[in-house]
Symmetry: C2
Subunit: 460 residues, 2 copies
């Protein structure tokens, strides 16, 4: 088994240039939801393929009907074969005025207490996270001339925008992508000091509804009272989606929602999690989900229905007494157990249709979806990874749940038949998807060291 | 009594240049709600003051804390004194992509049936309407060298944005503005052939609520379920504002709402109004207001509560799984009888506050308000105006209600102690406040002739 110590030393010595490589990637405005940024997405993909080639991977930019994939192989080593997945696309940056600095001009910043962090869109989700793996590979190659195991890297450009191209791409390239285990770096630590392996992920179903009423915007003086108001119709429909106890009212919504294994529930109780502290950091205090569930259940093991955007009528400065022709909302559900995203989408749409007045119609726009996942934590690979993470961070690595959805994990299981080791170094205060996204310098540095150790442990 | 016939001839002969004067005014982008257009508002005011001076008025642009007023006097005639009010500001033009032509590049357009109309923002509301009065004065002066009665003209620049400067301006200049009767041209005809005097106007109260939850936008994966979602809170609150029968649930809302005089209700029945036809022209069919009221009552004599704008979270292309920090709505109520806008604003706000979860707070932005008005139709001046309108149009002029609110009418009554003769030539399909606003050429032409006749009748 090749020695890990010089690999870690190399990572320490190379930190500044590793940061410069990450920053060059962050400067690419690879916002995948907005077609205006398609060229920036391609640029990010090309930059990554070139970087992997430079390390010695057989890498290419592979076309899809949407943004391209980056695929790279280094299969020269003996030992097991690992498929690493990351995504180079990022969330939109609006509202831009809330950013303290240009989101695409990353920097290392130092807090009063001396801790350092990287600022900019994608420093955490997912450019910073995916580069921890790439940098770990680079160090292994630099020190030992080879990786400790076979590695295939797949980097997607549509994770933040529905990821429609990924499942067909996986199907078409299944032989090339199939490995012994998948690794994904798109999750978080338990806290600033405690590393974690995420073994439970909620699924997702995202949909958009547009309520149409009159054939034009109306003056509320002439028509107000008699004309159907789509904002009022939409508010009624959205308000009906939860009862007063926070339970989602979509028929069949809770089909396939399991009760938690008491052992897992008990281990969660040992994490010292409190709703006050969790919500306190975002200036809230009262859990808003099902009233008979703890806040940790609400975010890890219970399904939800959230409204992510709403718009209709005049929203500028001042007042315009208009009755709009339409109003729309973006709705997402987080799924657990065996909840079926397709059934839930159909049931949500029927729920809305049933509540429309005769004059209104609903138009729907389908966005992405994925089922929930629970990992087989008794696979020895989970114990190996847990051991080296504990070694690197000096604190026991935890098996945790995650409220977020990583649809690729369901696709890796369903299409490629593989389990996934979810190790990430994000923190809850990273503000991913929000203004002022950041990534801890320690996450980037020790994250790279962590992957170097995990690769070594699996290859050893 | 000076002869009206040559005045009408002069109006006919001068139509093309009158249109050119109106179009020059329409080209001013005097959108009062948006501070970016302040200079355009001032330009419109200066243009109008210069035009009035040119006719022989003693006219000036008078400053206010907001957009300026235009005030002009021609008091050389004997006879009663008339105060004419209009507004030179216009509504915003978004969504711009729905306009068939540049809203600020007006033109005369001809339909297949040969009828003509003027296209552009403000051609109807209120630049086209106010210019009918100015052109009538111009013709009287050109033909007879003087007006048939004393005329003061007051033109406002904030009617579409709350009109906050008007009441203090009226108070400060009450002596200068006081006259025997006010005239306002900001209302509609009964239909394309039937002129109308509006004797019943709904009042208005406009307010804006912003629901604040977490101190930043959140990722719904991490926080979804446990964190309060302001869109959900807002939807619940808005949905609670009407019951299933369309009755507004704000406590005390119906205080001061009178039952209609059976005689007026009967006269309305004679107008041949049908909900099918009224709503059919905007592609609707079912009256959306109180289920126990006719559609005509819903728009003329019953109060309403409407949502004119709503926004929160991600509203761009694609999907962003954010839980926003805030969500907001613009709410307006139309008022009748002696409903008190101030009490209703306070009651609405209390209604919202009572329904907030512990973690959320509501911020309110006050917009404009005004009480409802009913005119004394037994004043002989109403009969005189009705007679000459009937003469001009060849159809009996109707006394009608109006769902719209013209707060200045309440201010003229309250501050200056005057009644108002509301005569306007707008049509229901003028799309005021909407894309593709227009004004009938016949409204402009015969409207100018109508005012010339009304001035003559009052002066005679």
């Amino acid at each position: 088994m090749a020695d890990i110590a010089p690999v870690l030393d190399r990572i320490d010595a190379d930190l500044d240039t590793a940061l410069e490589r990450l920053f060059e990637l962050v400067r690419c405005q690879s916002i995948s939801t907005d077609p205006a940024y398609a060229a920036e997405c391609r640029k990010a993909a090309e930059m990554l393929a070139a970087d992997l080639s430079g390390i010695g991977f057989d890498a290419r930019v592979a076309p899809t009907p949407g943004h391209p994939m980056v695929v790279g192989h280094d299969l020269s080593a003996d030992g097991p074969h690992v498929l690493f997945y990351g995504h180079y696309d990022v969330q939109p940056v609006d509202p831009l005025e809330l950013w303290e600095a240009d989101p695409f001009d990353p920097a290392v910043r130092t807090r009063e207490d001396g801790t350092k962090y990287l600022s900019g869109r994608g420093t955490s989700d997912d450019k910073g996270q995916l580069m921890t793996f790439v940098e770990a590979c680079r160090a292994w190659k630099a020190v030992h001339g080879s990786l400790p195991c076979k590695v295939t890297i797949l980097l997607e450009g549509e994770e933040e925008s529905g990821g429609k191209s990924l499942p067909p791409f996986m199907k078409e390239h299944a032989d090339e992508l199939k490995a012994d285990i998948a690794m994904v770096c798109d999750t978080g630590m338990w806290d600033r000091e405690t590393p974690a392996i995420t073994t439970m992920l909620r699924g997702m179903m995202t949909d958009e509804v547009i309520i149409h009423a009159a054939d034009r915007d109306l003056h509320s003086g002439f028509y107000g009272g008699a004309a159907a108001n789509p904002i009022r119709v939409l508010a009624k429909v959205l308000a009906a989606l939860h009862d007063d106890d926070g339970r989602v009212q979509i028929p069949g919504f809770y089909d396939g929602v399991p009760e938690l294994d008491p052992a897992i529930l008990k281990s969660w109780e040992g994490l010292g999690f409190t709703a006050e502290q969790f919500l306190g950091q975002i200036d809230l205090s009262v859990p808003a989900g099902e009233t008979d569930r703890t806040a940790l259940e609400q975010v890890w093991s219970r399904p939800t229905c959230e409204f992510n955007g709403i718009v209709g009528g005049y929203t500028g400065e001042g007042f315009k007494t208009v009755i709009p022709a339409k109003a729309s909302a973006k709705i997402s559900t987080r799924l657990v157990g065996t909840q079926d995203p397709h059934k839930i989408r159909a049931s949500l749409r029927a729920f809305i249709e049933e509540r429309l007045p005769a004059d209104c119609r609903a138009e729907f726009i389908e966005h992405g979806s994925g089922s929930a996942t629970v990992m087989p934590t008794d696979d020895p690979i989970f114990a190996k990874a847990q051991a080296v993470l504990t070694e690197e961070w000096g604190k026991d690595a935890a098996f945790i749940g995650c409220g977020g959805s990583i649809p690729v994990v369901a696709d890796i299981a369903g299409i490629l038949g593989m389990d996934t080791l979810l190790i990430g170094f994000g923190l809850e205060d990273d503000r991913i998807h929000s203004p002022n996204e950041k990534y801890e310098l320690s996450s980037f540095h020790k994250g790279t060291r962590s992957w170097a150790r995990v690769l070594g442990a699996i290859g050893g």
